[in-house]
């Protein structure tokens, strides 16, 4: 009985949680909702990234911009330069206020639906993203920002897309992919309703990416208790080595002679 009741509660919670994202009408009274297929992404040993679906209601005949962004932080890079025949890191470059993930999709190209001033103000699109990041003084801003964005795009952490949101009959839907090597943390999904080149409504929703179980334990231990983790790593290797060689009785440790 108890089990059944618990399952019921979980079931109910699963239904109500997305709804909590926001059904309240925006300031103008136009109905707007924002739902996501997951509130939390769990990183387990089987984790290989996750596609999160996003949908909601918006006033008819409006455009929609959906942005996925992580908290911002300082990012350090080193610049490669040619030293003799080799490419080595020659100096450091500091970026401030960089999100580790930034993805944006919209119903139509941003420039067609929103003036540049508003793109910058709401940190939307390439213009908005670039203007929000600070590059270390004395460097060619444009060059370094382009490189930063290219690197993050290669890692599938940034994506700036002019389309990708489907909208019709007052409903929109889109999706974002979390790459498996995207770091755990708190992410924000923001949806903006655009009408007549103005933002007329917005909703925000939080998605947490968390390592759970063994993944969480191992990575937390390795970062915070290096000494303890070292002992664990040695013990695990000894146990694995012994049990593997016990499985083959005639093992003489050939591998080790490398």
């Amino acid at each position: 009985m108890k089990k059944g009741a618990a399952a019921c509660i979980v079931f109910a919670a699963a239904w109500t949680l997305p709804a909590l994202c926001g059904t309240a009408p925006d300031a103008r009274g136009a109905p707007m909702t924002l739902h996501t297929s997951a509130r939390q992404i769990e990183v387990t040993p089987r984790y290989c990234g996750e596609l999160v679906k996003i949908w909601g209601k918006v006033p008819r005949d409006s455009d929609v911009i959906v942005k996925l962004v992580s908290p911002r932080e300082t990012a350090m890079f080193s610049r490669k330069g040619k030293v003799g025949p080799f490419w080595l890191s020659v100096n450091r470059v500091r970026f401030e206020n960089v999100p580790w993930m930034y993805k944006i999709k919209s119903t139509r190209p941003l420039n067609d639906i929103l003036p540049p001033g508003l793109q910058v103000r709401y940190q939307l699109g390439e213009k908005g993203l670039k203007s929000s990041i600070r590059v270390q003084d004395g460097l060619d801003c444009g060059l370094y920002l382009n490189e930063l964005i290219l690197i993050r795009e290669k890692d599938r952490l940034f994506s700036i897309c002019d389309t990708g949101v489907v909208c019709g009959r007052g409903e929109f839907r889109t999706s974002f992919f979390w790459p498996a090597d995207g770091p755990p943390g708190r992410y924000f999904i923001e949806a903006f309703v655009v009408k007549n080149r103005k933002i007329v409504g917005s909703k925000t929703c939080v998605i947490d990416v968390k390592k759970v179980g063994m993944e969480a334990w191992v990575s937390r231990l390795s970062k915070t208790h290096g000494i303890l983790y070292g002992a664990f790593a040695v013990a695990l290797a000894i146990a694995a080595g012994l049990s593997a060689s016990l499985a083959f009785k005639h093992s003489r440790g050939e591998l080790a002679e490398s």
Partner: protein
Amino acid sequence: MTIFLPVAGIDINLFLLIGVGAFVGFVQGLLGSGGFLLTPLLIMMGVNPAVATASGINAIVGASVSGTYTHLKAGHVDVKMGLLMLAGGVAGGGIGTILVKILRAMGNLDVVIILCYVVFMAVIGVIMFVEGLSSRVKGEEGSRGSSAVLKWMGRMPFQMHFKVSDVETSALAPLFLGGFVGILAAVMGVGGGFFLIPAMTFLLDMPMQVVVGTVLFQMLFTSGSVTFMQAAVNHNVDAILAAVLLVGSTLGAQMGARLVRRLKADQLKVAFSLMVMAMSIKMLNDLLVSPAFFLVELGARR
């Protein structure tokens, strides 16, 4: 089926990973060396070089434990020699670990690791190639120490007697040999047997059986302490990656050891040496071509 590696922070095909471990173990079982391929293969699969070296050395702990036990029981370990080497190994491992920390902060660790492997694999490849071609000729004269080298070793300070090996030599020799492989263990993630076994037969004139036992003994404890130091200082040991590799390599080593009598090892050695040289050239080429990005992110976000 993929597995997410918690410290490396990437998802990777589990069977591919076991396969790489099995291949390295197989070559090791068949030819007697090849463990040094593990780290470059991991790097080529997309594992961060710092994580690949530290996890590689972690796997060696497990790979040398049963062999050490067997040799200890058989009395083939010169414990006095082994402990001196271990002292050098821990010191060298400590220096190597700090070197890794400094190079990583500079952003040049990857280049240094890859460059070490380029040189190292080129040398090993050439040696194996020559060995494979000329092995039918050799055999009349053992490769034990020449008298000139032994005389020179005899003039070094701190001479002492090693009972199990039945040799008289300077205490500095095992200290320095251990120290050198300790640095290699931290920077490159290799056990160092390929270097120690010929060095100890040649420089110290030790009997082969005792060399193998003693090398395994010091390798177990040196790799253990390097794993420990890397985990404590650089946080780059992926124990899960190491455990998966161990399962694969034990499997492969068994198969290699069983097939060793049925296959023509000389020809395999030549083929393998060509592969090692090709890998060395590929890695060198990767260092020389202009990088896709002129910026490299420092430090992990996860």
